[in-house]
Amino acid sequence: MESCRICASANLEVKEVPMTGAVVTFSEVVVGSSGYPLKPPYTLALIKLDEGGHLIGVLRGGGEKGADWVGKRVKVIFEAVASGEKVIQPAPWPRVFAQMLSD
């Protein structure tokens, strides 16, 4: 097996994981960029996956504004880009979302 192309770790194994984790930190994005299709405000969360590693994605199912999401359990969802969205990328790439799991 080759090394990881992102962190160069030789400890690399391809396996299916449940893609659950917890919110480490988050931010409600009020001023967004024109390049992201979702209009602000949206809540961006940094997720620590149970199997290790981090992902960033928009939180879904959060609800109330001003709540503290740190430590909340989420499931990571990958979504294909909507057809018709013009993008520059060498290969199709899904978007990451973090779905809140009920306590």
């Binding site: 930190t25 024109s34 961006l44 994605g57 790439w93 990451v96």
Partner: protein, 388 residues
Amino acid sequence: MRPLASIITAGCAKYGRRDGLYARELLAEALDEAFENCPRLSRADIDAFYLGQAFEAFEHQANTAPSSAGGYGFRRIPAIRLDSVSSSGASALRQAVLGIRSGEYDVVIAAGVEKMTHVPTSVALDVISMASDRPFEQWNGVTLAAINAMMARMYLRDYKATEEHLAMIAVKNHRNGFYNPKAHLRRIVTVAEVLASKAVATPLKLLDCSPISDGASCVVLCRPELAARYTDCPVDIVASAEATDLNFVFREQLLGFEATRVAAAMAYAQAEASADKVDLFEVHDAFTINELLAYEDLGMCAKGSASRLLENSETSVGGRIPVNPSGGLKSKGHPVGSSGTGQAYEIFLQLTGRVEPERAVKGAHTALSHSMGGAGESVQVHVYRKRG
């Protein structure tokens, strides 16, 4: 200790909204100041031109170094553009230092520029978001403000600091920038105003963020032994260090900037100095949280205790260790590619006693600049000493 290179002159275009001008015209404004202030220097003396400029998208223009150099009369010399986003200018400075150090060149220019304000803010933010990883960060709704906001939330949660402390950084830097004629936002603000400003990415508010600015700056460097030929008061660069890191989302350690810690350690070793031997700092403060973290990563205080420096006004002009007497990126402005060379310009003025008295660091002899690209993916640290 033998200096690595010497700054003989410097220039800076007024930062702000500079309607109707192209990047190359802003650059020419900065270069004009440098040459006017150094009559013994001629354009024919310049051996190489290093340009920090982050984004091609703003003017739909790549290949900017040769045209910028040639357009100012530096013909047929090596001219190259460096990109490390927000620290592109500092990358240009470091490569210029290395060019001198290698023995290849006698006199070189390190310049930086960005023209940004002519596009709508949401478009500017999309361009700036190119600093982040495309598939894993930008693609998922990340803005630079959001990354720094997430870091700020972690810091405020883990340590004894509040949003008021972040606001105090904005207040301090706006106060300094108010007295800087080159600054973009020359406006005094209060903690209450910062806290009441509109949310950008919680917990960061508009007045926690540096503005989108147009601007350019440059320094002219030469071999240390040639400096007396051009000026009676050169400033020596005694350390030049650089380190990089993985993109934010891939890091094990999310809080603080390892690249700053590594680059600072190298710079202090080269300069045979430590943080307490530095009289003034110009640090990356694109967002207030960056300056707070820089206090710790640069060794100015212990981890988790940065807020105390603010409570005691230690980093204000007149305090024990003034930080960002220029106003920083926060108030002086953040024309991305120019911010690194802009710090060197400020330090050159400070160490040669040419700044407005309200923001002058009296008796300063040693200074440090800390420039950061993206969310800490690239960091350059330089240490400067007044000669004599």
